[in-house]
Every structure is written in C-alpha cells, then in structure tokens.
Amino acid sequence: MYEFTYHRPGSVADAVKLLADPDARAMSGGMTLIPTLKQRLARPTAVVDLSGIGELKGITVSGGTVKIGGMTTHATVASSADVAKAIPALAKLAAHIGDAQVRNRGTMGGSVANHDPAADYPGAVLALGATVHTNTRAIAADDFFNGMFSTALEPGEIVTAISFPVPEKAAYVKFPNPASRYAMVGVFVAKGPAGVRVAVTGAGANGVFRHAAMEAALAKNWSAAALDGVTTPVDDLNGDIHASKEYRAHLIGVMAKRAVAAAG
C-alpha cells in the first residue's frame, strides 16, 4: 500500500470538505477499497473513513418505504427484522454476500457506489426502483448505474442512504462464483409500485441492467412459465474464464425462472 493520510470525520459536511481534494477517497467498510490499495491499484493521498458518521447508519421503515443508511453493514441488513418483514428478498440477498466477515464490515453505500458488475445490491436497487440519496440530491436507480464500476456520482459525492419502495412480490436468485460468492449471474425480480421489473447482475459487460423482454412477459403473466422462450442477446454480456457469454445468457433464464417461482 502507498502511504496516505487517514481521516475519520464525524459528519457528512466534514467528510464532503475532506473529499473536495480530488486525490482523497471515501471508505465505508473497506472490503473493496483496502484490497485495491493493497494491490497498489489506487493511490489516494487521503482516505476518508465514513464509519464515524452516525447519520449514515440505520434502517427506517415508513409509508411503504424502507430507507437504509449508506454505512449500514450487510450483516445488519441481513439480520434486520424490519427488512425481513418489509422486503424479505433484500434481507436474504444481504445474507448471501461474500462471507460472514465481509458482511460484518461491507456496507450498502460502498457496494452501490462501487458498482462492481458482479455485486448483488445493484440488482436490488434497480429491480425495486430504489432511490439513491447523496449529500446533494436524490438519484433514481434507472439513472444511477451507467457502466461497469461507474455511476452517476460526481467526484466527492457521498451516498448517504438508499430508499426502497416495498414491493408486492420480489425475489433474488444468484449463481455464485464458487470461490468468491460474487454473482456469476444474479436475477432480481419484483412486482410493485414501480411495475414489474427484472434486473440482472453479474452478467452484463456494462454492469447491472434491466431485462425488457422478461419484464414484458411477466407483466402479462407473472409466472415462471411466462419466461419460456424468452432469450437474452449475448452481445452485451460478459464472458470470462468463469463462464462464456452464452452460458451466462442461459443462466439468466434459469435464475429468472427460479426467482419468479420463489417470489410466488
């Protein structure tokens, strides 16, 4: 790791001031950032640890919306009785991210801001039609993710919370990479205030995406059988040593059917 100055501000306002330096980087759980620093793939002059900011933590449920602070760990989401009651698919997703030690540190804000193409949360954010709140604005999920490891966030902008409208039905099924547990393909299906939405993570060359053909089929008939014959063009899919584009296209169909069946 290259040397850097460590800061632990106590408020979003102080963090924003520190992050005005273009060479400073925010850190939440550090489960992605620290391995990146260890491999010398990044060289920030300052690391701004957000973990001391109380206003970034916690889960509130009100008026059909679940709002989760950016600094909330995967373990907290996974074990929250409120989340399990309102959006069980989200609690279950969180319980299957990486391993227990990663879940004890890794956060929703860090995962969403990072937009790893194999990460799980982006699927939930997009399929549930969530809103990403930052220190300056609220961004609709459809406008947030814009390419692999890329989002609508401006430099120095902090994800403060994410609010999810409670769906009528939802489920997430992933085919995990056997070594890392990241999604080789993950499909989140939801029917709710934002309509019928299907988001695919792990497979897209540009990160998470909505599956228009599956959404149309499920809007007409919400059943696994409705997805028979609905295919995924391979052009924009990711192919690598773990799975070819064609295999990922096949897995999208299988995971989507399992998800619809699980959502009931």
Binding site: M1, Y2, E3, F4, T5, Y6, R8, G30, M31, I34, P35, L37, K38, Q39, V47, D49, S51, A75, G98, D99, A100, Q101, V102, N104, R105, A179, S180, R181
Partner: protein, 167 residues
C-alpha cells in the same frame, strides 16, 4: 505518525502506526502476537480473523487506525489465565480438526462468532455455510465441522463436558 489506542486481549495498548498499517501487522509485527496468520493477499482465506468488539473481522482488511478505541480479541486471548482452553480450542484438539494448523486460529475465531450468533444451534449444513470465509488446505473440513458441532453444545450449556470423539 498517527497513534492508536485499543485493547488487545483485555490489555490496553498504544502504538505508533502509519495510516496504511493493517491491523494484522500491528498485531504480528508490533505486538508480536503471531497467532493471527496471513494466508492470502485477497481477503479470502480467513487465516487472519480476529474479533473486534465481538464481531469476526479479517485483520488483513482493516487498518490499525480503524480500531481506535476498540476491543480486539486474538487467538492468544482465548484460553483462561490458568491455561484452560476455550471449548472451541478444546474441541479442535479432541476432534483432530487441524493438520498443519495454519488456518486454525482464523477457523477458531470465526467459529466462535458463528456459534455465538446462533443460540438456537447450527445444523451441519449451516456450520459449513458459516465457514465460507475460511479456507483450509489440509483437512477437507470434515473434522472442523464436527469440532464446531461439539463445541456449540458446550458453549450453549447443553452439555457440561465436551462430547468425546469416536475412537
């Protein structure tokens, strides 16, 4: 250089570190607590697991400055002052849950957190899934799972003495 103050195995410690110093390096290099191992560079093997304020964490993926004010428990802090092993350590010995022993400190620390978080008890499948973050290259996991199953019975007060392994 930043200073960090914390408790390690119940004892207050203050040390000078760099911003980039990992907790595992503070433990191993500065405090000479070499029971916490480093097995990978990718945050995947779990040989470095310690408890921070009661939660299992990979000490290779957290900065020393991040644990300012925390309570850190390492494998060296588990046994009682008179040398009596923690039930999880005792179970690993009884069930032959180690061969080379490299993964063992991390396995034991992860297993204790896993058992504590599941007071209703864990099935064999749940134990296996709970060890997702710990790799062992020797044992094939089988005896590790048996040891954790035996230890959970002692830790939850279901039995007074550790069930003996079959001869």
């Amino acid at each position: 250089m930043p200073q960090v103050s914390l408790k390690v195995n119940g004892k207050p410690v203050t040390a000078e570190v760099e911003g980039r110093t990992l907790l595992v390096d503070l433990l191993r290099e500065t405090l000479r607590l070499t029971g916490t191992h480093v097995g990978c560079d990718t945050s995947q093997c779990g040989a470095c697991v310690v408890h921070i304020d009661g939660e299992s964490v990979k000490a290779c993926t957290i900065l020393a400055v991040q644990v300012q004010g925390s309570d850190v428990l390492t494998i060296e802090g588990l046994a009682a002052a008179d040398g009596t092993l923690h039930p999880m350590q005792e179970a690993f010995r009884e069930y032959h849950a180690l061969q080379c022993g490299f993964c063992t400190p991390g396995m034991v620390m992860s297993a204790i957190d896993l058992v504590k978080k599941n007071p209703k008890g864990l099935s064999e499948q749940e134990i296996r899934e709970g060890l997702e973050g710990n790799l062992c290259r020797c044992t094939g996991y089988h005896n590790i799972v048996k040891a954790i199953d035996a230890a959970q019975q002692v830790m939850h007060g279901k039995v007074k003495e550790l069930p003996r392994a079959a001869e």
